[in-house]
């Protein structure tokens, strides 16, 4: 997601957050410092800080508090990515070698632990019980989601509900939390904070569904990994679940994964082609749109403001994402 012009006005605050992120990961050990910095420099959409800032602008905006929350959320996200690459044995992220690939598993583990510790050190400076309770519950639930994802791998019997719960934990919760925490530290009412939480949740669900669609419809160059990689890794996503309603695709899918340890990237090409012949992609986009509409409805009663308009624009932008 490129920074749309509509939230270009956040650039100054985002730069401050970026600088703070850099400061936070200046470890004493040179390799620990380079590993963390390389990850930060590899980019990323910084969608969590953006949502924190926007929610903050709907209330009494105090950059110091907002920055603490935004930086912590991004650090937690970064720590998760470093460890995820060990879990997935991934060599590339955002088209660049992963920390695991560059320095090995052990350094990746230490880097992730270091970054998470920095995040908790930072957030502990906020003396707000509600913030900590929400934050900690979310971290635990995100971890449970990741564990659940392993549990559900290659499980072709899973339901749509299983998938939705998984992506809620994997993606939507942290975005929902970004919106809610921005609201809390900016003094918005409980009701408004909850509305923003729901907005973030719906946007997160929609965003992840589109990500899961793109795994089949985009190119390996854009994805930075082979198309169909999620399925190759045994992750059953929405397009596959919808595709399985088609008898022919279902048959081919189950045949391909009869010996799951020996499925090759080339097997994915045939499966992707067959998936595209079904309604799976279209139906997946429809569910994503459904979530986006709910996101927009959730915030429609907020008074007009530039921040509100940006939240609307982001939801619309996510819905149009096709690469």
């Amino acid at each position: 997601m490129k920074l749309p012009k509509t939230y270009g006005y956040l650039k100054k605050d985002l730069n401050i957050i970026e600088k703070s992120l850099h400061q936070m990961i200046q470890a004493e050990h040179p390799t620990l410092r380079s590993a963390s910095t390389e990850l930060l420099n590899a980019g990323g959409k910084r969608i969590r800080p953006i949502f924190v800032l926007l929610s903050g602008h709907l209330g009494k905006f105090e950059l110091d508090k907002i920055k603490t929350v935004a930086v912590t959320l991004e650090l937690i996200h970064m720590a998760t990515l470093v460890h995820d690459d060990v879990v997935d044995d991934a060599e590339l992220r955002r088209g660049k070698p992963t920390i695991k690939k560059l320095y090995g598993n052990r350094v990746a583990m230490y880097t992730g632990d270091y970054i998470l510790a920095r995040a908790l050190e930072e957030i502990s400076t906020l003396r707000n019980a509600e913030v900590h309770k929400l934050f900690s519950k979310t971290i635990v639930e995100v971890c449970e989601g990741e564990i659940e994802q392993i549990e559900d791998k290659y499980n072709f019997d899973q339901s749509l509900r299983d998938y939705l719960r998984r992506i809620k934990r994997k993606t939507a919760l942290l975005i929902a939390m970004s919106c809610k925490l921005g609201a809390i530290v900016s003094g918005l009412s409980k009701r408004d904070a909850n509305r923003l939480y729901l907005y973030g949740y719906y946007v997160g669900m929609s965003y992840q569904i589109i990500d899961d669609i793109l795994d089949f419809t985009s190119t390996s160059k854009i994805l930075g990994k082979p198309a169909g990689n999620d399925l190759l890794q045994g992750n059953i996503t929405l397009p596959v679940l919808y595709g399985m309603q088609n008898e022919s695709f279902n048959k081919r899918l189950l045949e391909t994964f009869t010996d799951k340890d020996n499925v090759q990237p080339v097997d994915m090409e045939a499966l992707i082609n067959e998936l595209k012949q079904t309604d799976a992609i279209l139906n997946s986009y429809q569910l994503s749109d459904h979530y986006l509409q709910k996101a927009l409805t959730t915030i429609e009663n907020f008074p007009s403001s530039r921040a509100k308009q940006t939240l609307v624009d982001i939801a619309t932008f996510i819905g149009k994402r096709r690469s």
């Binding site: 620990l32 598993n105 270091y114 998470l116 957030i123 502990s124 400076t125 900690s136 659940e148």
Partner: protein
């Protein structure tokens, strides 16, 4: 506080059905649990709930760190089950870290969250030095090992402002480490310390490490003499363990 009860409480707090199906139930470092219990039990400024939370959360952090140490250095497994086990070791460590934060958030102890996080940060700095073998002498190596092993406990000791166990904890934990290394060597496993003394043959190595253990033992015995009365349970525990060490050494010497 009863360590059997604390152990059970800790096991229940970190219980996760799916994790336990694939990875071994985490090892609870009983020596650290006993030290923590002694440090915190007699603190009159804390409620029972706070005491339990302090001990359980610190142990959760230790378990999280220890679990991540079990992630293989190289990813070489191709068998599905082994791959899952290794993946879950990564996620389990993160999960336990999340749990400690959750428990301390419930009692709104933001300063302890900060204290534990700062300790984790520092421990990982030392782990990097150890991983890249940034030491020139055996003493430097032992210094890193000691830091990694005792920093968490000492940070909590500092947090509750109870320093009377600092030195004895440091020495006792390091001595336990040496004994583990010795045990590994006896079982034919090339333990990290042995790697540092790779030029030594088996019997020279054992003599060297026994001398170190013996020295540590004397130091610990001296430190125990001056411990305040409230640490009597800890003192008795260490004395009893030290006599076991003596017994084991004699048995091994007799076996030749």
């Amino acid at each position: 506080m009863d360590t059997t009860y604390l152990k059970k409480l800790l096991q229940d707090s970190i219980h996760h059905k799916f994790l336990e199906k694939y990875i071994k139930q985490p090892n609870i470092d009983e020596e650290k649990l006993i030290i923590l219990s002694s440090l915190i039990s007699n603190n009159t400024g804390l409620t029972i709930i706070e005491k339990e939370h302090y001990i359980i959360t610190t142990m959760m952090v230790q378990i999280a760190l220890d679990t991540h140490e079990t992630v293989p250095v190289e990813t070489s497994e191709i068998e599905h089950q082994a791959v899952i086990t290794n993946q879950l070791k990564v996620l389990a460590g993160d999960y336990y870290s999340g749990l400690y934060y959750l428990l301390l958030s419930e009692i709104e102890d933001f300063d302890l969250i900060h204290c534990l996080a700062a300790a984790i940060k520092e421990i990982n700095e030392y782990k990097m030095k150890l991983y890249y073998r940034e030491f020139n002498t055996f003493d430097e190596y032992l210094f890193l090992t000691e830091k990694i092993d005792s920093l968490l406990i000492l940070s909590v000791a500092n947090y509750v402002n109870e320093h009377s166990l600092d030195n004895v904890s440091r020495e006792w934990l390091l001595m336990n480490k040496l004994m583990q290394e010795r045990e590994s060597r006896l079982n034919g496993i090339i333990a990290p310390i042995y790697e540092q003394m790779a030029d030594l043959d088996r019997s020279t190595f054992l003599t060297r490490i026994d001398t170190m253990i013996e020295n540590k033992k004397r130091t610990i015995e001296n430190l125990l003499v001056n411990l305040p009365e409230e640490h009597t349970a800890f003192k008795l525990h260490v004395h009893s363990k030290l006599s076991e060490v003596m017994y084991n050494n004699i048995s091994i010497a007799e076996e030749g």
